[in-house]
């Protein structure tokens, strides 16, 4: 760690991992409810568990992005953070707001929560992923603006690099497109149309800028390859991302009442969306192969390579599987979508945040890399989580193919619930694999507590 103020990122990383555990636990509850329908009912109905699962994911990834930015920006800008105190204050505001929101989901009926938190003044709740009550949404805006102010001031006063520019564009884009979540037209078609401006333009747009910047930063550090080379790659990747991803939004506009020309725009452009992810994979391997030093943190390098491969598989390949309109006509809103969602989020965003944590955390704790023993444990967690996520995705894909066939293609289509009974085997397999994922996550946490004699000096 070169700058004292980088230490604030540790808070963010620890909280991110804590929320990751909560996310996975609630995922396991939901997975069990898929096969034992009344499990924990009415204490935790499925929709409540799902809000916790998805909202915890979003919040911990945001925590991870913020922590990463607080770590990277001082090194990129070659100066201390503009205000470490602001970063710490915003952390506690964000954490308390997130905890209060989750507690409210679990303890208060959602309709009452909506009434008490001013949803009648400005109704924004009850839309997928944007379920947060108005005060939470406003809190996110305050935290995001304070964070952006802090980071932007640091960049403006220091050295400007391509990596910090791309990271800032991604983070500002994140905040700007979140503002669309306050717009909820009465017309459901228009509601859905603009809802995607937050959801799609986040995960298939500006978040990929953040992803690229984080990966580029870690690759410079662990490979020692020239910044010039890495930054050129970064611009090429994010160019491909946005020229395919912006119009690629159209792949959500096939069947929601929007005009049919979207079937062409959406199919063609989103079919190209795997290209930037493929470029990212090639980039990661290429840089590691051309490395000019042997960095002692081999675990971080493994996570960086894993991000390249898994984001290409999850976002690229599994996205392409069902993105063409004639295919999507049958797969839309099925377990195929769930399969894609799981591997894409894990491969792209979960893994890049862990890459950053894996690289930065030893430095924050005063050493260049963890002991060999701790790294071996961490690599075990990498394989446990990654392989189980591959199988979760495969089982959900199998469930999805069966579901589509039985419910939408067969001569005598079955009802939704009858179909669900038919695919229960795959839900059980998914749940079992989910338990292995949780074990992988616990092994990951264990790696932080493992002490070894041969820790490399910072």
């Amino acid at each position: 760690m070169q700058y004292k103020s980088q230490a604030v990122s540790k808070l963010y990383f620890v909280a991110a991992i804590g929320l990751f555990v909560a996310q996975v636990l609630f995922g396991l509850i939901m997975g069990l409810q898929y096969v034992i329908g009344d499990f924990l009912f009415p204490a935790i109905p499925f929709n409540v568990a799902r809000m916790v699962h998805t909202n915890a994911l979003i919040v911990w990834l945001l925590m991870g992005f913020m922590g990463s930015a607080y770590y990277m920006i001082p090194e990129e800008s070659e100066r201390e953070l503009f205000s470490p105190k602001l970063a710490i204050a915003l952390f506690w505001i964000f954490l308390v707001a997130a905890a209060a929101t989750v507690a409210a989901y679990l303890l208060v009926p959602y309709a009452s929560l909506a009434k008490w938190t001013g949803n009648d003044l400005l109704s924004t709740m009850g839309r997928e992923f944007l379920e947060q009550p108005l005060p939470t949404k406003l809190g996110i805006v305050v935290v995001a603006l304070g964070f952006l102010f802090n980071i932007s001031m640091t960049v403006l006063k220091g050295r400007k690099t391509a990596i910090s520019t791309v990271l800032l564009m991604g983070l500002w884009g994140l905040a700007i497109f979140f503002l669309v979540s306050f717009y909820n037209p009465d017309n459901i078609v228009r509601d859905k149309y603009y809802w995607w401006w937050t959801v799609h333009l986040w995960v298939e747009g500006v978040w990929e800028l953040i992803l690229g910047a984080l990966l580029a930063f870690v690759l410079i550090k662990v490979t020692g390859v020239d910044r010039e080379v890495i930054e050129k790659w970064l611009y090429v990747i994010i160019t491909l991302t946005l020229i395919t991803g912006i119009i690629g939004t159209g792949h959500h506009y096939f069947w929601i009442g929007t005009p049919e020309y979207w079937q062409w725009w959406g199919s063609v452009f989103s079919a190209l969306e795997p290209i930037p992810f493929f470029a990212m994979t090639v980039f990661a391997f290429n840089m590691v192969n051309r490395r000019r030093r042997e960095h002692p943190n081999r675990a971080a390098t493994l996570w960086a390579l894993g991000t390249g491969v898994m984001s290409f598989l999850g976002a690229g390949v599994w996205g392409f599987l069902h993105t063409l309109a004639p295919v999507n006509f049958y797969t839309h809103g099925s377990q195929i979508t769930a399969a894609h969602g799981h591997m894409a989020f894990y491969g792209a965003y979960v893994m890049v945040v862990i890459t950053m944590i894996s690289y930065a955390m030893p430095l924050l704790r005063g050493r260049a890399a963890n002991s060999n023993k701790a790294q071996v444990i961490e690599m075990w967690s990498f394989w446990l989580m990654t392989v189980s996520m591959v199988f979760i995705t495969l089982f959900l894909t199998a469930a999805g193919i069966l579901q589509v066939w039985l419910q939408r293609v067969a001569d005598a289509p079955m009802s939704f619930m009858a179909t669900q009974d038919q695919v229960a085997l795959f839900y059980w397999l998914r749940e079992g694999t989910g338990v292995i994922f949780l074990i992988g996550l616990l092994v990951y946490i264990w790696s932080f507590f493992s002490k070894g004699e041969d820790a490399a000096k910072a």
């Binding site: 109704s123 997928e128 080379v229 929601i256 929007t258 809103g333």
Partner: protein, 146 residues
């Protein structure tokens, strides 16, 4: 990637490409808004339907169900539930009776919470679901099962 292709060239292509495609997206959005009145059933967007949408949101229906294929995959698609359950021949009555009868309490089966909706609210959510079923979705879903 070497020689004349410099980082600043790459950066300029990035900015140019992004601005171009974002403007194209805005143009497509403008055309979209022009085309929607003929497709989104807005002539039937009554205050009752708007109130029904609010019930849809404040009960977090999308946390289990899909609506036009978007939402959670735990419970049936509701964009066409009005049609599936009889349309003009009893669709509304079925929806209201179903919501009132929850949860079923059948052991091991997926359960829907009881929301204690008033008769007025039941009419509103049913009107909303009927409205959604009349949106032109380019023939999706493939059949009535959703």
């Amino acid at each position: 990637m070497s020689g004349s292709f410099t980082t600043s060239t790459a950066r300029n292509i990035f900015f140019g490409g992004t601005v171009f495609f974002f403007l194209l997206f805005l143009a497509l959005t403008y055309r979209n808004e022009q085309a929607l009145p003929a497709r989104d059933n807005r002539a039937n967007l009554t205050p009752q339907v708007v109130a029904g949408k609010k019930i849809w949101e404040t009960r977090n229906c999308v946390g289990c169900h899909t609506l036009l294929g978007e939402g959670a995959y735990f419970a049936p698609e509701l964009g066409n539930v009005y049609v599936r359950r009889g349309g003009a021949q009893g669709g509304t009555e079925f929806i209201k009776a179903w919501i009132k009868a929850q949860p079923t309490g059948a052991p091991g089966r997926r359960q829907m919470p009881q929301f204690n909706l008033s008769d007025k609210e039941l009419d509103e959510i049913a009107a909303f679901l009927k409205y959604v079923s009349e949106i032109n979705t380019s023939k999706w879903p493939p059949n009535n099962e959703g």
